[in-house]
Symmetry: C2
Subunit: 281 residues, 2 copies
């Protein structure tokens, strides 16, 4: 198939590498001509351009831009595409994207490949980024069946496990396991920064090891990305945070009341429950 | 030197292996005669017994029992030791231990080797467990200088970096970087368990990957250990939890008020601050 990829960073670049290796013809779009040249050189795209007109004959287009650019990109594409063109995106939040695009482009299906690395950009692109991971598609009752079938076949070429659910279910699930941890973890670092005793601060910095490192990792991530998650997935994240605070309050209450049985019961439950949230990659 | 080690688990066993390799003569004590036999066989101890009378000639005694057994152990040792014997412990909380033991045994110095593995018990003991880690000693103004010097020399044999501070400073520092993360992380798992929509729960469990895995790791640990930390370090942990909750509330407020600039500012600060809490091992 002729596939368009808009945004040739980690995700777009890795999609190009893998799908091209499965004999698809890749048309790449980047805002930067340097990136276009690099994409052709690295085997990410067969042709690449800064101009959307390259995509007029694409059968499926993956929008791999930052979330804020997804809807504007569809508006720009609309005049130059035939209505048969299937559009999908790779944004990490789905409901607001699907709601905004459906009235503009009916042949759209929201997507979210659950893959990534600490590195960003075209240089970090790798052919096997998606192998063994999960690819979420969020069709609605109005999504054409052909679009669903075509995307399902492409996720097989990516060697991913396809998961289909509603945009709202996706957004609440990622609020729990992907977005809530960021705010929980960031608040841990912020709290440690409230300590005024400089001797304690210096010692804490010196003694911090793997427990602190792991619990604070996602809280030390990209602030723009965290802000964007919150903006686009506000309701689900706010709900998760309020339920989190209730659980935290139970823990604080048990400690302040010296109710050690209650505290150990909670810790025992979470020890058991954690293993339910495991994954292969 | 003749060194006594009471409790031949991960920490006691590893101390024995390393100090014996530095030509100290190790007297090991365990409640179980099987463990005593194993300790001699594995080169952890030169002699081992279930009977404290083995320790009458020890110059320094390391108490490596669970926290609750440390003070009772000193009381049991008191009638059989000469007053020159230096006693130290390896408990992860210091102020209540130091306060309780000082009136019973003046030649005592609290200690906390900051090392560990996921495994427990004598089978997990390893000679290089402490190499490159930090060893905290918490002398008070009444601790004999000779005890401090002797312990400092032994920490060099363990190839650790010696850190000296007050028991209170130690306890507040570990509350921040070692104990608070446990309750923050456990509350994350507990919150996810509050979700009632089974489709969301199943999807969240399926999609959870490294971010959730790292943030929830220490919350999935041993409940007895977490309960014991809270019991022995209650004031410092409760203070850290209250300051944590304030930071969490700021985050929730920024999200609910859609104050994205404020949210990104907090996330930017925590991204920068995290690097201050790094360590070699």
């Amino acid at each position: 198939m002729k596939l368009g990829i808009i945004g040739l960073g980690l995700i777009g670049g890795s999609l190009g590498l893998k799908l091209r290796s499965r004999s698809h013809y890749i048309l790449g779009i980047s805002r930067h001509s340097d990136t276009c040249a690099l994409a052709c050189q690295k085997g990410i795209a067969d042709e690449a351009s800064t101009d959307f007109s390259l995509l007029t004959e694409a059968e499926v287009i993956f929008i791999c831009t930052p979330i804020a650019a997804i809807v504007p990109t569809v508006k720009q594409l609309k005049p130059i595409l035939s209505p048969e063109t299937i559009i999908t995106d790779v944004g990490s939040v789905k409901a607001p994207i699907v709601e905004a695009i459906t009235p503009i482009w009916s042949n759209f299906i929201g997507g979210h490949p659950m893959a990534g690395t600490a590195q960003q950009g075209i240089e970090a692109a790798q052919s096997d980024l998606f192998s063994g991971t999960r690819y979420v598609l969020t069709p609605t009752e109005n999504t054409p069946l052909q679009a669903q079938k075509t995307l399902a076949a492409l996720t097989q070429h990516l060697e991913t496990e396809l998961i289909t659910c509603s945009p709202d279910t996706h957004d609440q699930a990622v609020a729990w396991i992907s977005h809530l941890p960021v705010f929980v973890s960031s608040s841990l670092i912020a709290a440690c920064c409230q300590e005024q005793d400089q001797e304690v601060v210096k010692l804490a910095q010196k003694l911090a090891s793997s427990g602190f490192r792991d619990t604070s990792r996602v809280g030390g991530g990209n602030p723009e990305l965290g802000g964007m998650m919150a903006k686009y997935n506000k309701d689900a994240i706010a709900r998760s945070l309020r339920l989190y605070r209730q659980q935290l309050d139970k823990m604080i209450y048990a400690i302040e009341e010296e109710n050690w049985d209650q505290l150990e019961m909670i810790l025992g439950q979470t020890q058991g429950a954690r293993s339910l949230f495991t994954t292969k990659k």
